[in-house]
Symmetry: C2
Subunit: 297 residues, 2 copies
């Protein structure tokens, strides 16, 4: 199943790129798009989206694929813009030069913009057979990346004099996890309400794991610069709770996410995915003990 | 009629801003959104969209308003990003400091991203009563701003070693004029095919007018820096044809656009709008004679 989900995401993203780079496209922009998407990271958000669609019956797989691809496109767009000199000024992403280092700042801005547009185009193309589902899906995904509480808003909290840490994390990281879960259900025509809680807890767990990896991993393991939170004076769960406290918080959140999964045919497989994820996202030195705890919960 | 169209556009944009700046929005990002949209420029693209919708029966005005607002949001997003230091580095836009001068580079990147998202959210909200029209409208508008041939692609041609001038202009300026016309018809449930030619010619005319104003106007008349084309070594109709040749080309294009308008109830009003536009977009010193010629055509 994991293999097939990975293939579905890859094919949906490749189809979107093929549409975007048709005849008439500036060649370097086309290269920058491919570079921004492949090879991918863990594709955790689109895998979550397809897992929830699967657990909900997946009666319109082409729409679920489109939703998953749209979510990954928006995630990657946010990474390209986050790495820009005016934000993190990161030279590395996923173990290779960041997009603006490889293609220049102009193409990094433009390919990010184009990926946002491509996400919505991809969604519309996937909804041909299910037009009634397009608007709700689009609003779910749009809310997760725009204003007032999506990724752009989350990033914008870094430019405010006063920030509530949870608002910042919910918008910057949590929102797209919630959208991945809710959109998975919506794409399959299921009631999305119960899935919001799953996404909220997983988004928070992922943010804690990210803070742990930033504090503990080396640059080779992470593929991007480390200890950026401390360097940039950003709030972090490790700074707030210490390493042991942050690991405990992550454990609690993953257990709570599993409890939120509603009764559904694919619920078991989904719980396995969540437990596996909890191991994968931890720094190697912590993964063993945390995995045992999660699988026991 | 002009009054009413202006009011419709303003109300649709204000409703979109109200949605985007609800509780939870970072205050400075909310300010930057308002600043990027108000006071507006001539709103030529959304006026064109509503004029075509009107000429096509306008049976779903809330959807036409949403399409017009989406198009203006995307246009304004492209201006905010175009003004960034890595592109034009423009200190002025519409007679006031550009967004990155007023709010910093980070918020300029983020508000541009958020406006792209908001455009598609606005379209989806306007399509509640006409779900079948959402995907075609979204694809029309998305194609005009993304890849392979929309605004982002047009801007990206500036980073390529070789450019065909017409590809560059069609993508950077023409595409959104075409979308404004086609979307106006689609929002009203009419056949969009005949409107493509109108949009293509108006887009090209607008580009020629823009080149003329860049070459001839002073900064007070234009509200942004002038003679940027020559300064930045960019191709321009004035450089290619001279001032008199460029004015003749603009005349021919506007006349050709009028000829393309299909038989429809609101065709007369639309032709008047086009003729008025042709006068408005010319530098003051040229407007008198050109207006006479267009109105005689």
């Amino acid at each position: 199943m994991t293999m097939s989900v990975t293939t579905r995401i890859d094919q949906a993203l490749r189809a979107a790129v093929a549409q975007a780079t048709q005849r008439g496209c500036p060649p370097r922009l086309a290269e920058a798009l491919d570079y921004s998407l492949f090879p991918g990271g863990a594709r955790v958000r689109p895998r979550l989206c397809l897992a929830v669609a699967g657990a909900s019956g997946d009666d319109a797989p082409e729409l679920a694929d489109a939703a998953a691809a749209a979510i990954e496109l928006l995630h990657c767009a946010s990474l390209v813009h986050d790495d820009l000199p005016c934000f993190d000024d990161s030279p590395l992403r996923r173990g290779k030069p960041s997009v603006h280092h490889a293609f220049g700042e102009r193409l990094a801005v433009l390919v990010g913009d184009a990926m946002i547009v491509l996400a919505f185009q991809t969604l519309a193309r996937g909804a041909v057979a299910r037009p009634q589902r397009l608007a709700p899906l689009l609003l779910t995904i749009g809310d997760a990346v725009g204003m007032p509480c999506g990724i752009a808003a989350g990033q914008a909290w870094e430019s405010e004099p006063r920030v509530v840490l949870s608002d910042y994390h919910n918008a910057k990281t949590g929102s797209l996890f919630v959208a991945a879960c809710v959109a998975g259900a919506q794409a399959a025509g299921a009631d999305p309400a119960p899935w919001r809680g799953v996404g909220e807890r997983l988004g928070e767990a992922y943010q804690v794991a990210d803070d742990l990896r930033d504090a503990l991993c080396d640059v080779d393991e992470l593929g991007k610069p480390v200890q950026r939170d401390a360097l940039l004076g950003r709030p972090s769960a490790v700074e707030e709770l210490g390493v042991a406290g942050a690991v405990q918080r992550l454990r609690d959140l993953v257990a709570a996410a599993v409890v939120c999964v509603p009764q559904c045919p694919g619920g078991g497989a989904l719980k396995d995915l969540i437990a596996g994820e909890a191991t994968r996202i931890l720094p190697k030195e912590l993964a063993g003990s945390a995995a045992r705890d999660v699988q026991g919960s």
